[in-house]
Structures are given as C-alpha cells and as structure tokens.
C-alpha cells in the first residue's frame, strides 16, 4: 500500500476514567473530542466522517448538537468490548474509500456500579440459565482462568503479579481511575469473588471517553509531526469450538478464541511478528484474561507467562511492556471507551509523550487487543 492509502492517527483525546457524578457520558465524549481535535490542530468543521460508540450512555451522533451542525456523516456502532475498535475500523475504511480525508472516532460510557446486568433473552438464552445463577461474566472469567492455570501449570501468584503491575502503572497515570499501588499479598488476600480470582483481580465497570482524529495519506503528515500509522486492524467473531461467556455447553476441546484469529490477521496484514511489538495493550477485564491473552495474541507461548511476569518483562522497562496505563484493572471498563483508551495510550507511547510512564528507547511498534461477549476480538498494529 502506498503512503497515500495509509490511515494515520493524528490526534487523540481522553476524558479521565473513573467515577464522577457531575458529568454525563455525552459531557465526557465532548471533552475527549475537543481534546483530540485540538491535539490534531483541526476544527470540527474539518472532519469529513465520524463514527461513535456507546453501550449505555446515549446516541453518539447526537454529539453534533454540541460540536456543530456541519452536516457531517456520523455513524453509530455498538459492538460490546470491540466498540472502540469498530469505530476506528469504520472511519479508516471510509477514509480509504474516499469518503473524506479526515475522520473522527469516539467512544464513551457511564455504567452503573457493580457487575454488569444482563438479560438472558438478549443473548438468546432460556430464563433458567440466569435464574439459577449461572449467567455472570465473572464466573466465566474464573472458569476459563481456572482451567488455563491447570492445563499450563501456572500458580495463582501470576494473577496477582498482573494486577500489581496494572495498579503500579495506574498509580503514575493521570487519566487512570485506580491510582493506588497494591502489593501481590494485598491482591491475593482481597475478597474472593470467584476463585481463582479475587476482588482486586477484576476491573470494575466505570465511566470515561476517548477520541481519535484519523487522517489519510499525506494529509496526516501535513497536520502532525509524528503521525502514527494504523498498520492493521482486524476484527473477528467466534468460530465453532471457542470457549465464550454465557455458554451452557461447550464442545470437547481444544477451544480456539477469536483473539487468536484477530491477532494473527492483524500481524499478517501489518507484515510484522508478535516479537516485533514494543508496547502492547491487552484486554484485562481480570488478571486471568490478560494472562491468557498474552499467549493467545502470540506475545508469548502458552505457559510462559509466569516466568515473564516474575521477571518484570511486561513492565514498562521490560521486553514486552503491557498495559502501561494500567489497563482496565486501573482504568475501569467503560465499554465503548475502553478500546479507544488503548489506542490513546499506544499512540502517545509511540509519539514519546505518554501521559504516565513512558516506555524507554523510542518504541516503534505498538499493539492493541480487545476481547468480549459474545465472542469477539479486535487487534491492531500501530507503527511510527
């Protein structure tokens, strides 16, 4: 692909994640968009195509009432944890198709406290499944992690190491929610939620917003000193035999996750290997998920995680820095904003202006990964 067909991130903005009763989802989205526009040095009038996502906090296209009634095409997407990635994919495709040369992707959410409330019918499941107490995302993460630790001989302490690193990174990040470091012992000894996972190994639904300005080809270099190339973005749904949330039954293994498909496709399109990644974002709804995603995306082999974590290899100064902003564990998970938070962090890392801990050595290859219900994953490779 020639440079004129490539899509670049030229601006990014983010409303701090966490809890703030004084702002709505739309308020946060507006702030993130204005920040992204200012970062790119463009005006809302310059945006030729926009896509927004929100799971529970309103129709994104109504933001035009706040930003300006310019007549811009503005599409809404709703893809669970892959919502942010879907907004970026839709904008990038529109730019490549000649719809515009400058586009905007935005995601925001503000969730109620506590575990996500789910309806059996919405997932095509019978009522008994929820009535008998089996329809909980937390159970799924625990069951998948329990089996994974067993199959690969990994000790539960590895789960605490993931969370401790997340809170350590979050403590130094101005946009993170959980800013207090916790020791591995504090994490292991916190309240049991669903073994092997404890309270501090889970992220919480929260609130936040993030936005990106994307530009096509040369326009990107006119606007931005260091545009970040969207080298690839692959979105996949599950295939037969994957082990997903809300499954009353599973076929006998092996169980292949859509994360494997999405990561393979993202690396193939980018022409890079997992070993080339210098800063990564992995969906860490809980410690177990991140641990499993490390291997499913190819960043390490199955069973190698324990050594990797113990050796500090996933720390900002390590070989494969993971979730340098603290991920979902420190940021919480406003569903439609979470994926764009990942882009925000990786873009800023690759530009050498991380809001929190900067990965040393001027990283040139970044990676993002999201995974969610009902068996979806999106991965991207970003380069400078």
């Amino acid at each position: 692909m020639s440079r004129s067909d490539e899509v670049y991130v030229v601006g990014c903005g983010m409303h701090p994640f966490g809890r703030d009763e004084t702002v709505t989802g739309m308020d946060m989205a507006e702030r993130a968009v204005r920040e992204a526009l200012a970062d790119a040095g463009v005006a809302w009038e310059d945006i030729g195509y926009a896509v927004g996502g929100s799971d529970v906090s309103g129709k994104p296209d109504t933001l035009v009432g706040r930003l300006g009634l310019t007549g811009v095409p503005f599409a809404n997407v709703q893809n669970g944890c892959a919502t942010g990635a879907s907004t970026v994919l839709a904008v990038a495709n529109a730019l490549r198709a000649g719809e515009a040369s400058l586009g905007l992707a935005v995601g925001f959410d503000k969730h109620e406290r506590g575990a996500f409330h789910v309806s059996a019918a919405r997932y095509g499941l019978p009522d008994w499944y929820a009535e008998t107490g089996m329809m909980l995302t937390t159970q799924f993460f625990a069951l998948k992690t329990q089996r994974y630790l067993h199959e690969h001989g990994i000790a539960e302490r590895a789960l605490a190491r993931v969370a401790a690193r997340a809170f350590r990174n979050g403590s130094q990040h101005p946009l993170a929610w959980r800013r207090k470091e916790l020791t591995e012992e504090e994490i292991l000894n916190s309240a049991e939620v669903s073994p092997p996972l404890t309270q501090y190994m889970f992220c919480s639904p929260g609130q936040g917003a993030a936005a990106l300005v994307l530009a096509l080809g040369d326009r990107a270099f006119d606007l931005c000193e260091r545009p970040v190339k969207l080298a690839s973005l692959a979105f996949r749904t599950r295939r037969f035999g994957s082990f997903e949330v809300f499954s009353p039954w599973l076929p006998p293994g092996p169980h292949r996750s859509p994360s494997v498909d999405a990561a393979e496709a993202a690396f193939r399109t980018a022409g890079l290997r997992p070993a080339d990644v210098q800063v990564a974002q992995l969906q860490d709804t809980d410690s177990g998920s991140e641990l499993i995603h490390l291997a499913e995306t190819g960043l390490c082999g199955h069973g190698e995680q324990e050594e990797l974590l113990a050796g500090g290899d996933t720390d900002p100064t390590g070989r494969i820095p993971v979730n340098t902003d603290g991920g979902c564990l420190a940021g919480g998970e406003p569903v439609a904003a979470s994926g764009l938070r990942q882009f925000h962090e990786v873009v800023r890392q690759l530009q050498g202006r991380a809001p929190g801990v900067q990965v040393p050595g001027a990283p040139r290859v970044g990676f993002t990964h999201v995974y969610g219900a009902p068996g979806i994953s999106a991965c991207s490779v970003l380069t400078v």
Binding site: T132, L143, P251
Partner: protein
C-alpha cells in the same frame, strides 16, 4: 411437597434424572440444551439425544456474591454455590456443582442430580439439574 422442573425441555426423565440435548446427524455435534440447528455444520438434522449421567469436573469456581435478578435465590436466601463445566465426553455441560470446597477439583468424578433452585410464590419447589460427587467413580 409439590415440585416442578425449571424447564421440562432439559430433562428426559427425573427419577433417575437424565438430561436431554440434541445431536447433529451430519457432524455428530452434541449440544445442550437442545436446539433446532447445528452450530457447526449446516447440513445435519438435530434430534433429541440423552446425555451421559456421569463425568468429570472440567473447571469449577464459586459464586461468592449474590447475583442480581433475574437470579432467584432459594428459600432462606442466597448462599455461595459452586458452578463448573462437567466433561461428559461428547459435550461439556455447565452446571451447579453440589460438591464441598474441600473436595472440589478439576478431574473429580461427578454424577447428575437435581437440586432445589427456588420456590414459586405458591410454594412449589422448582428443581434444576446439578452434579454431585460420584462415590462410585474411578479415582
């Protein structure tokens, strides 16, 4: 005491309990609960298929906090309970596990049983399926 099954379609019989799923005539995929089309191949016809009653715990966890509705706690209120997948050979079934914490482990032989899920407003006991430690299972 009057009792009913939480969903008649799940059971082939109650005494002794047998679960019924469906099997694809094309690719032999077994699903639970039964459904009209095969999630793996587009060719086969699905027909009712009675599941084995014994298997092994494939994974397990504890539900340590009370779920939000539509979960319905038993009379006397919510108490933490185990859930897991049981490997029945041709299919893994997710179920409540009536196994004490001290005994529960991956690989534990278990056998199908029924437990009280909750009571209807008129007092009818509502039964659902579960697995308990299989005393006759091989070690």
């Amino acid at each position: 005491m009057i009792s009913r099954l939480i969903d008649e379609d799940l059971f082939e019989s109650v005494n002794p309990p047998r679960l019924t799923g469906a099997r694809c005539s094309g690719c032999a995929t077994v699903v639970f609960p039964r459904q009209g089309s095969c999630p793996k191949c587009s060719d086969g016809a699905m027909s009712a298929h009675v599941l084995p009653v014994s298997g092994r715990v494939w994974s397990w966890t504890l539900q340590a906090f009370q779920p939000k509705p539509p979960y319905r706690p038993p009379t006397g209120g919510y108490r933490p309970y185990h859930v897991g997948y049981v490997d029945l050979g041709e299919v893994l079934v997710e179920a409540r596990l009536e196994v004490p914490r001290a005994e529960i482990r991956i690989g534990l032989p278990v056998r199908l049983t029924t437990v009280t899920a909750y009571h209807d407003e008129d007092g009818t006991e509502v039964l659902t399926f579960a697995f308990r430690t299989d005393g006759n299972g091989e070690r």
